[in-house]
């Protein structure tokens, strides 16, 4: 009996990124739902940290220990939301995943495509969350005479050591880095299970699935 001389099977990173980008662009409604979860979590995180920094600036209470707990829980909820939404995205694409496998995709290629999508979703959601959080915090400052716009601006350009990990940077920059970073990381972690599930699908089963 003959044996095969197997050549390579590959999916260059640039192509995987291109496909994931197309998925994000062309499936915007679906992606927006996943992104909303990230956006809300990060907006809450950023606004809470900023408001506390404003308070500290004008001699108020500043960041309270209970806030960390509140933030932790809110990000956890947000992560569960991403996982849930990504699981639906996988279910919607059963047939597509089966097709990729027919065309030569390895399990890890499927995993890669979903994880890159998670990074994109996290990045977009983090950016949007930061902007919304910033706007909310500034509105809070303006509406609160003890802080005011002046107090807010002063606080934004000054480091606040109470901000975790990014306490050395000016608050506006530190929370940007931290917010987007957490968003990407959270989205990645929350997508590991759905992506792994998608990658392991048996192609025959995946193709049978009718939506």
């Amino acid at each position: 009996m003959a044996s095969v001389e197997v050549g390579e099977v590959r999916l260059p990173l640039s192509e995987a990124i291109y496909i994931s980008l197309q998925n994000v662009r062309r499936r915007f409604a679906r992606v927006a739902i996943t992104t909303a979860s990230v956006t809300l979590g990060i907006a809450f995180f950023v606004s809470l940290m900023m408001m506390a920094s404003f308070q500290a600036q004008v001699g108020g209470a500043g960041v309270q220990p209970y806030m960390y707990w509140l933030l932790f829980i809110s990000l956890l909820v947000c992560g569960v939301g991403i996982t849930n939404s990504m699981l639906i995205a996988v279910a919607e694409r059963y047939k597509e995943i089966g097709t990729y496998k027919c065309l030569g995709a390895l399990d890890r290629h499927i995993l890669e495509m979903f994880l890159i999508e998670a990074i994109l979703v996290g990045g977009i959601g983090g950016l949007a969350g930061y902007v919304i959080g910033l706007v909310a915090a500034v509105i809070y400052a303006v509406a609160n005479p003890s802080v005011g716009l002046q107090g807010a601006l002063a606080a934004l350009v000054k480091p606040n050591p109470a901000v975790p990990l990014a306490g050395a940077l000016p608050v506006a920059v530190g929370l940007f880095v931290l917010g987007v970073g957490i968003a990407v990381l959270l989205s990645l972690i929350a997508t590991i299970y759905p992506a792994y599930y998608a990658a392991r699908l048996n192609p025959a089963e995946a193709l049978r699935y009718e939506i």
Binding site: G7, L11, R25, K101, A105
Partner: protein, 242 residues
């Protein structure tokens, strides 16, 4: 192509059982088939006969309960996940009833996809994808996405995609099932032309008698078993009798 094998596909006592609670569904139950290189074979059978299951086994998409599948004389049960992926990318082209194009990619990108997995250079991918789309009559639809194409056009893209890596065999599972009669016949005739012009072996499943008169052989499948096999000559005789 370095080696030429007489048989592209061989199955030996091929069986696939599914457990459904207390029942066992015998989707395939001892199928022996030999398909020659360059043949055009139709698998005829009513819904539930086991056509898709047979394709899944031949196409390396699922493991049989019993028996063997040889593609170009290689026993595919011996292949690991990497080798199977390579086999699917290089040796087999798949065509489905529901077209299964990647919706977010253009026609050109869909045809290029199998060549990406096969490691073909970018310029060569583009050249070949264009050439194939022109061959199936879609030279002016390169940048359309599946939703912007009719069913018949989508199936043509799928045919071009199936040919991208010059596979030894094309497996077409009810390729005309979602098309009207006229478009379906056009697709079947295109497959037959490509079969003659490129020597690619084609196995297609259908439950529509109107789709089989291009075949070299017809395999009648029922309840997971081969009921009978007709050759071209016999088909011609029958056609005259009608």
């Amino acid at each position: 192509m370095a080696l030429r094998y007489e048989y592209t596909v061989e199955t030996e006592d091929l069986a696939k059982y599914y457990k459904m609670g207390a029942y066992i569904v015998k989707a395939l139950d001892g199928v022996n088939l030999k398909i020659r290189r360059g043949e055009y074979v139709s698998i005829m059978g009513p819904s539930g006969a086991g056509k898709t299951t047979l394709f899944n086994m031949i196409g390396g998409l699922d493991r049989p309960t019993r028996g063997k599948v040889y593609i170009d004389e290689v026993d595919i049960s011996k292949l690991d996940a990497y080798e199977l992926a390579w086999l699917r990318a290089r040796k087999i082209g798949y065509i489905f009833q529901t077209f299964n194009l990647i919706p977010v990619l253009t026609a050109l990108e869909n045809v290029m996809l199998p060549m990406i997995f096969a490691g073909v250079r970018r310029e060569e991918r583009i050249r070949k994808a264009r050439e194939l789309l022109e061959r199936v009559g879609l030279g002016d639809r390169l940048y359309h996405r599946p939703t912007e194409l009719s069913g018949g056009q989508q199936q043509r893209v799928a045919i071009a995609r199936a040919l991208a890596n010059d596979p030894a065999i094309i497996l077409a599972d009810e390729p005309t099932g979602n098309l009207d009669l006229q478009t379906g016949l056009e697709i079947i005739n295109l497959l037959r032309q490509l079969n003659k012009e490129r020597g690619v072996t084609i196995v297609t499943a259908t439950h529509d008698l109107k789709m089989i008169d291009v075949s070299d052989r017809i395999v009648y499948l029922r309840d997971g078993r081969v009921e009978r096999i007709e050759t071209r000559a016999e088909i011609a005789v029958e056609a005259e009798e009608y």
